[in-house]
Symmetry: C2
Subunit: 105 residues, 2 copies
């Protein structure tokens, strides 16, 4: 989970995700959106996203099309939601204990 969160804790990688959210794109076209770095850098970012299951690769001839793996995004959202809500739940439990203590005093 740490590596998955780290994968999206990078502006370029989040931009890549946004870019291919609605439609798949070949690597070269993705790289065009980042003129400040080389194609190699983008290829490595794509590798990080792929290894964490965030994106999917489809080969066609010499080109590789990338698209977002929505399932993994859903899993990430679920993890974060449970992270927040677990914490909130613990807070609620504590509030209940506090109420019981107030009732008992």
């Amino acid at each position: 989970m740490d590596t998955l969160l780290k994968a999206i804790a990078d502006t370029k990688r989040r931009d890549i995700i946004r870019l291919i959210w609605a439609r798949e794109l070949p690597a070269a076209e993705i790289a065009e959106y980042f003129p400040d770095v080389t194609r190699s850098a983008i290829s490595q970012h794509l590798s990080v996203l792929r290894k964490n299951g965030v994106i999917h690769e489809r080969r066609e001839g010499t080109r590789r099309f990338y698209s977002v793996n929505r399932g993994e995004i859903v899993k990430l959202r679920a993890f974060l939601d449970s992270f927040w809500s677990d914490s909130l739940e613990r807070l609620r439990d504590l509030a209940e204990v506090s109420e019981q203590q107030q009732g008992a005093s």
Copy 2:
């Protein structure tokens, strides 16, 4: 935002957040929950969280009590929510364009 996301992309730091979500705790007590690392390491994790506004420090004598800064967590959640929903919205927009194209053909 990258550094804020990186701050929570670490199991120990997320555990610290959970630990002090409902109640503030002094640094020593937080460190007790992590017997595998030194107090210094925890102090540095606390520093990372504080610099990103995730936690709040209250000094009392020689002790420092830490608690979660809920406002920052809310901001983080809002950022992520808009990240997902912006992407979904773009997907919806594309679907509409697709429908129009289908209608026009």
